[in-house]
Subunit: 313 residues, 4 copies
Amino acid sequence: MRTLTADAHGVYPIAPTPFFDDGRIDIASIDRLTDFYLSCGATGITVLGQLGEAPKLEHEESLAVATQMIRRAAQLPVVVGVSAPGFAAMRALTREVMDRGAAGVMIAPPNTLRTDDQIVGYYQQAVEAIGADVPFVLQDYPLTFSVQMTPGVIRRIVQALPSCVMLKHEDWPGLEKITALRGFEADGSMRHIAILCGNNGLFLDYEMERGADGANTGYAFPDMLVDVVRLSAAGEREAAHDLFDAHLPLLRYEQQPGPGLAVRKYILQRRGLLSSAALRKPGAPLTAAARSEVDHLLERLARHDARARLPSA
Amino acid sequence: MRTLTADAHGVYPIAPTPFFDDGRIDIASIDRLTDFYLSCGATGITVLGQLGEAPKLEHEESLAVATQMIRRAAQLPVVVGVSAPGFAAMRALTREVMDRGAAGVMIAPPNTLRTDDQIVGYYQQAVEAIGADVPFVLQDYPLTFSVQMTPGVIRRIVQALPSCVMLKHEDWPGLEKITALRGFEADGSMRHIAILCGNNGLFLDYEMERGADGANTGYAFPDMLVDVVRLSAAGEREAAHDLFDAHLPLLRYEQQPGPGLAVRKYILQRRGLLSSAALRKPGAPLTAAARSEVDHLLERLARHDARARLPSA
Amino acid sequence: MRTLTADAHGVYPIAPTPFFDDGRIDIASIDRLTDFYLSCGATGITVLGQLGEAPKLEHEESLAVATQMIRRAAQLPVVVGVSAPGFAAMRALTREVMDRGAAGVMIAPPNTLRTDDQIVGYYQQAVEAIGADVPFVLQDYPLTFSVQMTPGVIRRIVQALPSCVMLKHEDWPGLEKITALRGFEADGSMRHIAILCGNNGLFLDYEMERGADGANTGYAFPDMLVDVVRLSAAGEREAAHDLFDAHLPLLRYEQQPGPGLAVRKYILQRRGLLSSAALRKPGAPLTAAARSEVDHLLERLARHDARARLPSA
Amino acid sequence: MRTLTADAHGVYPIAPTPFFDDGRIDIASIDRLTDFYLSCGATGITVLGQLGEAPKLEHEESLAVATQMIRRAAQLPVVVGVSAPGFAAMRALTREVMDRGAAGVMIAPPNTLRTDDQIVGYYQQAVEAIGADVPFVLQDYPLTFSVQMTPGVIRRIVQALPSCVMLKHEDWPGLEKITALRGFEADGSMRHIAILCGNNGLFLDYEMERGADGANTGYAFPDMLVDVVRLSAAGEREAAHDLFDAHLPLLRYEQQPGPGLAVRKYILQRRGLLSSAALRKPGAPLTAAARSEVDHLLERLARHDARARLPSA
């Protein structure tokens, strides 16, 4: 059974949506990506997230992408992003992907929410819409969504809504938030949920030490994320940091809002996983200067991590 | 032919979406509303706008509502709101409603746009997505969308995109903006477009005097809007103001963001046009206190305008 | 004794800062305004508010304006706006104006606050800065400050901070908020505070009926506000609405953000209270078109309220 | 003569304001910091910036801090942050610090600006207020100020206002912006200005390669910034990256909004430059967990850079 639960841990890569240069969806690359995630030790996959270019897909395309990945991922739980401007669309997409075998859904807050009550109320309504039996991931990404959830608000959501099983933690700064949430679990005021970290893993090294269960992000070297999570869990602290630090210059570069997704797709192409680095409009390709900076970063990284030794694009 | 052009004028009511108490769409009320718009002198209709609860409709429902109104409205041009988080969904809905006879579409800016170039670029991409042959209405509503378009930005859009034929003017304050745009037309730096005013018509009295072509808003007395536009165009200034001022206390009350739509539906129900005042969730019905305030406002209005003399709800 | 308490009621006009055409402060007009407020039945005065052009004053000027009004107002309590980007400046100004006889201070939230805890925390820190013995007015104006305070948050502030004695209520929509706060008082969960309404009085008619204690706003006819508050308190409901409705077209015009202050100063000049309608930069004077619209509104108002029968500017 | 010009280059550290544990200003630490900046090769200093806790200082304190640093810095140009909610306060502070020998001032945009014209207009008014003879630094930090300036808007400001001599570049992402601005200089459409990079130097490595003139940020190892700028200018590309990369884990940690300043002060205290790491309220000290993370980062950094080998706090 592949139902998302609060025991989730490890690395759930955020899958990009592969396109051909002409904008059509590239099914073979979806399969290649999925196989790669399986082979490198991912414990789940998230599709149609913020960086999966979901809003650029027509409804049937979204379904096709999610379905393809769910089928290909065999035993791995696949979480599908269903954030939508209205509950009707959210409910419809949720129903369809759960029918096709999704393990759960991810819901980001609309950027109009302000007060604590508005945030809690929104998730209550969302659960009413999608059904209380569908496990969901709470996405906490203030930098992108402009919605600030305090630890207390997250606790209110977790306590009110049993189907909330995982936090995609991408607050920034966010280390104290993990400590606060784990403190709530320790003092019995909040049940346990999985905390997997996003924000391209920019603080994954210390997030693991604060009590995170893993990563849920799209960095182009998910195999590094898997290693860092494993080393950290195994208590090999300095080894985890050494590997993480070697990747940090590139990871930081990929974490830039806007061009970051083009960087990611470019690297995934160089890694042989995507046949094209194309984004759908209005996404722009990397400039020549940026491409050469990424090449330089990969070259420098390759001194420490052989996986970055790649053929030219 | 019912294609929206820059010669549009008069009153295009923003149609609410009628629901039964249980949330199902109420087709008979759509017909009743449409017939009423026709009978009171509307020159067009807009459906699936911000206050048409569009995000609460599933895709097939949106289509059904738009199609029903297009058919029923016979010769009147019907504009359909197609704002969407992505261009793919916008293109899909546009294609479908244009195929069914819509006169044009209305596009609001996403609230993430900030710079002038971002705004202009967004509309260029939108037109690329929906096709340059589809006439569109530029919705300028900073209070709701947090996007501020200067007159210069509107001119850039109008000059770059011939399919932009109408401005739904709801900036606040907005009188000088109309003057500035008409000034651009006068000095030859911008071609003529229709300017129809929204924001519940809160400044319609003086907007007409500044050069607006009419109203494009959802106030529950579109028949009053039609009269004010007609009187103003006929030079009957004080008569236009007298009628407008009589409605202003109620109009202001209905213009409140949030409960405003419930006020509107409640009045339309009292007018016999909607069988129910129900909103879909998360919309809330009026409180008893608010309902009695609206009743009071209607009673006071009835002293000046017999159309407000209504049976109890 | 003129210390602000939770028993405050009636009308506290928001005083504009009078300038000469060359930008110097016009002390004689301050005196004239103050005398007028006294004569027309105001029960207090607020200076250096958002629309008192406070940020355009140098520190010594702010002090001079506040001091002049405090002295002239004799027995009336004068509240001074002390909102500042930092607590050091807030503390310094508070100390100075309280020494000079201010009745209390008004504090608006910085527009960076988002969560409930941030808002409550901000006011706790502010009170720590200015001293728990200084009565303060909580300004709740989301339209301008982008900070949304739920009734629950206001209750937290009131309960935690005994020196919070008054709410400047300018939320929009805001009627249900007054009902909720008075409900907290009725159920014993919040102590009583004064609620005086701002937002140019746009909903003063029904706000009084919901339980407000009066008005705290800068509309150019504070004498009308005094009458409406008095009539409403005396149970003369229709008379209160008749007077209010007669002013609503102009009041709405003056309530526009941006040009509204120029409208207000222009009317106060026409009423003989200000020697000049000048704003300090970057404030712009009214355009000729706007001025003639205000003249027209005054002319129409004069048919119902003789106080609007004014000599030309 | 120490007047800021468009030829500025190198490293202008952003100086923190040193406090004792009880909140009083620590003059001896100001001197120690200044001497350190001089000794490590800084080419200028900026005081009272966003991270100098300027809003927490009373006016006389601000002046005292700036004056102390100006005197101590001998020949180095000192830039003073004068951002204020109103032009009156900005003008007053500017006058005072220029009289005391400041080389120029830095002005950040208020977070209410949206359109291109509003941004340009704001700087025009600011220059009118402070005087066209005072050189100023344009601070471009959208992450903190929510104001987005396109390269075109910066060009408009530079061309309209000759006293704009430097850009504090902290847009994120920002590499292409440097390329665009240098492109404007190359094509003759914009005169040359200094571009010094902020945002804690997170992209300083590639910003230098894109054409930046140096750094203007507060990272606790300004001596590293000086080395990177020097190595980069000297064409020692890999050496510059090696040093930068060694610092990146710590630099990223210090760049966190909120706790970042406490991190910085803690490190400066460990370096013996500040006698206390105290922040004024509402600033919070580092948690024990955070402190131990910083210690860990320093320890790891010390393997590559002996300057990080510090006695315990």
